[in-house]
């Protein structure tokens, strides 16, 4: 049976990607996905050989043919996104940054002067890495991160896992609590929360716990940079415990993480004997048992 683990943090920059990558050294027969399609970084440590590149359809945007527009303004009145502006010449044009692609203007235009263009800015990749296959993506700037790309990446990973008999999928999750996070949770079995010892880390942790408590999955927690603020770390421990989340370890603040990153290595490769790596190995053993 294929098990799926998603690593989440709520707040950005807690060390989620570094820790996901470090798990790569211990996970056997695993396949990875980078679900943080908005700011995908896992590939910087995994140094993938890209085997397949696919375009992924983004949203549609409206455009107005200036020669056909008669300047009646029906489209502007109907648009709820303030995406239609009158030009100096009295005709209309679309502000593509505001347009959400609902195509209402296209349907209402009496002159059929409006048409839609689908953006193909998003891409996703299947790659080979030293830790196993990686499915990752690059979202075009300004695209709607609706979770569809995350779902596509995860579906592809499952397909590979099924056909090549991988038994675990490890997903590097996106930050926040919105749509992409929800997409990275569908049908998973385990969650690893990476908490950071700071006031904002604590608050974002509360919000992510509230979101994931609706799912019936095994939840684990690891505290990063725990020595930055001992008081907050204690509060994190007690909130994890009161929510029945198993704590797998605490990692001190260490510049080694950044040094490893600069060399394009995981912490397990850069400092294999260090105390941090011991914590990560322990984390992996707890999660995989």
């Amino acid at each position: 049976m294929i098990r799926e683990l998603t690593v989440l943090s709520g707040k950005g920059g807690t060390g989620k990607t570094s820790i996901t990558a470090a798990l790569g050294s211990f996970a056997k027969n695993a396949i990875f996905t980078d679900c943080d399609v908005d700011a995908a970084d896992l590939h910087l440590l995994f140094n993938p050989d890209i085997l397949e590149t696919h375009a992924f359809e983004g949203g549609t945007k409206a455009e107005i043919d200036p020669d056909a527009c008669i300047g009646c303004g029906i489209c502007q009145d109907a648009c709820r996104f303030d995406a239609i502006k009158r030009t100096d010449h009295g005709w209309f044009e679309i502000d593509s940054l505001h347009c959400e692609g609902c195509r209402l203007c296209e349907r209402l235009c009496p002159e059929s002067a409006i048409f839609s263009i689908r953006s193909m800015n998003n891409q996703w990749f299947v790659s080979d890495t030293r830790f196993g296959p990686l499915v990752h993506a690059r979202m075009g700037p300004g695209e709607e991160n609706s979770g569809k790309l995350v779902t596509t990446v995860r579906e592809k990973a499952r397909e590979i896992a099924r056909s090549k008999n991988y038994n675990i999928i490890i997903n590097d999750g996106p930050p926040g609590i919105g749509c992409p996070v929800i997409a990275s949770l569908a049908g998973i079995h385990k969650i690893l929360l990476v908490a950071e010892s700071s006031e904002s880390g604590y608050h974002d942790l509360l919000r992510i716990i509230e979101l994931i408590s609706k799912y019936d999955v095994d939840i684990f927690g690891i505290i990063n940079k725990f020595d930055v603020n001992a008081g907050i770390s204690e509060r994190i421990v007690s909130i994890l415990q009161s929510n029945n989340i198993k704590i797998t370890g605490k990692i001190p603040f260490d510049k080694k993480f950044v040094e490893a990153m600069v060399q394009g290595k995981t912490i397990s490769e850069y400092a294999p004997g260090s105390a941090i790596v011991k914590v990560i190995r322990n984390t992996w053993e707890m999660i995989s048992s």
Binding site: E57, S146, K148, R162
Partner: protein, 106 residues
């Protein structure tokens, strides 16, 4: 009684499609006569809510049973609401003809 089986192709030699909402074809089976008809799943390329649209098709076809590899939550609640039985097959690679044989008891 009519049953729908999600299929990867448009004949009985195709395999079971493990996805409900995004399957390639629906195989409509008449369990009494053993006759089959294949229709394309128009929801498969839909960017969102494919499961709901696929469930719509199933309900419109008036079937009482759907056989697939998985059902999403929205599809499930819709099918439940209209009293349609869902079956999840453990082995996903099965050939449709075999699935038909096992449920018709041949």
């Amino acid at each position: 009684m009519k049953t729908i089986i999600t299929a990867n192709g448009s004949d009985v030699n195709a395999t079971l499609d493990p996805r409900f909402g995004r399957c390639e074809f629906f195989c409509i089976l008449d369990e009494e006569t053993g006759e089959t008809e294949f229709i394309e799943n128009k929801a498969k390329l839909q960017s969102s809510a494919a499961g709901t649209t696929a469930a719509e098709t199933v309900i419109e076809q008036g079937v009482k049973k759907v056989i697939s590899g998985d059902f999403g939550p929205k599809a499930k609640s819709l099918l439940d609401r209209f009293g349609i039985q869902m079956v999840i097959l453990k082995d996903e690679g099965q050939i449709i003809a075999n699935v038909i044989n096992s449920i018709t008891g041949k």
